[in-house]
């Protein structure tokens, strides 16, 4: 027991309200945890394996870039890249789930047709097309990944925090407060019995005194 409160009725009432509050908080936090876990599972399905997929895709993209570099000079590739236009824009919205901000993303396919890319297909070789292709793939994956991975990480951290709070309330705070309330009520009962016995004793003594007086009279 952390602290022994004064055994008064006031303290008892206080302790009881605290227990009630803790119970309410516990219930709310439990609901929050469940909601978070639900959301988590929703995202998890989408997030699976995206990261390893991205890593593999990045590797092939860098490979394609290296090959292109050996065919052309870096300057040539850069020149071609300068000509590429129409960046795929995205739309990010932030959803708030139980205080956790989760981004959702709307994006159009970054894939482009060969001719729509913007650089001259006469002056460049297929190697550069390959690089563009793989990087478009990567970009597409990044779109998918950004939505899920970020949110999932944040969700998990929040779930952990909430879980810890729920458990600490359930196993530490509530039993402790209940113990306090119990202790106070025991002490109060004990005091009541005490005073009852005392009153009885006084009454007996008074009666005895009165009888003795009567006898003397």
């Amino acid at each position: 027991m952390a602290e022994t409160p004064n055994p008064t009725r006031m303290e008892l009432l206080k302790a009881r309200t605290r227990v009630k509050l803790a119970r309410k908080g516990h219930k709310l936090l439990k609901q929050k945890r469940d909601a978070l876990i639900l959301e988590f599972f929703k995202i998890l399905g989408k997030a699976q394996d995206l990261r390893s997929d991205l890593n593999a895709r990045m590797k092939s993209a860098y490979g394609a870039l290296a090959v292109a570099q050996s065919y052309h000079s870096m300057q040539e590739i850069e020149a071609a890249s300068m000509a590429v236009k129409r960046a795929p824009n995205v739309h990010v919205e932030v959803r708030n789930i139980m205080g956790v901000k989760i981004p959702t993303l709307e994006a159009s396919e970054p894939k482009k047709l060969l001719l729509a890319r913007g650089y001259s297909i006469v002056g460049t070789s297929a190697k550069i097309d390959e690089v563009a292709d793989t990087f478009e793939h990567v970009l597409d994956l990044i779109f998918k990944l950004s939505e899920t991975e970020n949110g999932i990480r944040r969700l998990i951290i929040e779930i952990e925090k909430t879980k810890r709070r729920v458990n600490s309330l359930e196993y530490v705070m509530i039993p402790r407060l209940e113990g306090q309330a119990k202790l106070i009520s025991f002490r109060l009962e004990e005091m009541e019995r005490d005073s009852f016995v005392m009153l009885k004793t006084i009454k007996r003594k008074l009666e005895k005194n009165a009888e003795e007086k009567r006898k003397a009279a």
């Binding site: 876990i37 998890l44 699976q48 990261r51 991205l54 890593n55 990045m58 590797k59 993209a61 860098y62 870039l65 570099q69 870096m74 590739i77 850069e78 071609a80 890249s81 590429v84 236009k85 129409r86 960046a87 795929p88 824009n89 995205v90 739309h91 990010v92 919205e93 932030v94 901000k101 989760i102 981004p103 993303l105 709307e106 994006a107 159009s108 970054p110 482009k112 890319r117 550069i128 690089v131 563009a132 793989t134 990087f135 478009e136 990567v138 970009l139 990044i142 990944l145 950004s146 939505e147 991975e149 970020n150 999932i152 990480r153 944040r154 998990i156 951290i157 779930i159 952990e160 879980k163």
Partner: protein
């Protein structure tokens, strides 16, 4: 292409990576490194016009811890770390580990 998609994409990485993303059509590429990249990243983080910021893992790793924390806390723009030319680096706390710690079950293994 939809016109209502308004947020831009930015790439802060080494120059070959930037070139690659340029080929994919990303307009805002910043081939920077070190403190310059950090400055740019924090600048972009507070810019409403950007939806996604792509950075290399190695760059993010070398960042100031305050900036990293900021990156973790902002929901928009989304910061995505990608492996650079040297390949992916081991993250100290992988997603699978986090899931296992939070839920007690490793969900990523079974599927």
């Amino acid at each position: 292409m939809a016109t209502d998609n308004k947020e831009k994409i930015a790439v802060i990485a080494d120059s070959p990576t930037c070139t690659g993303f340029r080929l994919a059509g990303v307009d805002h590429t910043y081939p920077l490194s070190g403190s310059e990249a950090e400055g740019r990243l924090s600048e972009l983080l507070s810019d409403e016009g950007f939806g996604i910021i792509i950075v290399t893992e190695r760059m993010l790793e070398g960042c100031d811890w305050r900036l990293k924390k900021k990156v973790e806390q902002t929901a928009k723009p989304i910061v995505v770390a990608i492996p650079d030319m040297g390949g992916p680096i081991e993250q100290e706390e992988s997603l699978a580990k986090l899931i296992k710690r939070a839920l007690g079950v490793d969900l990523t293994k079974k599927k």
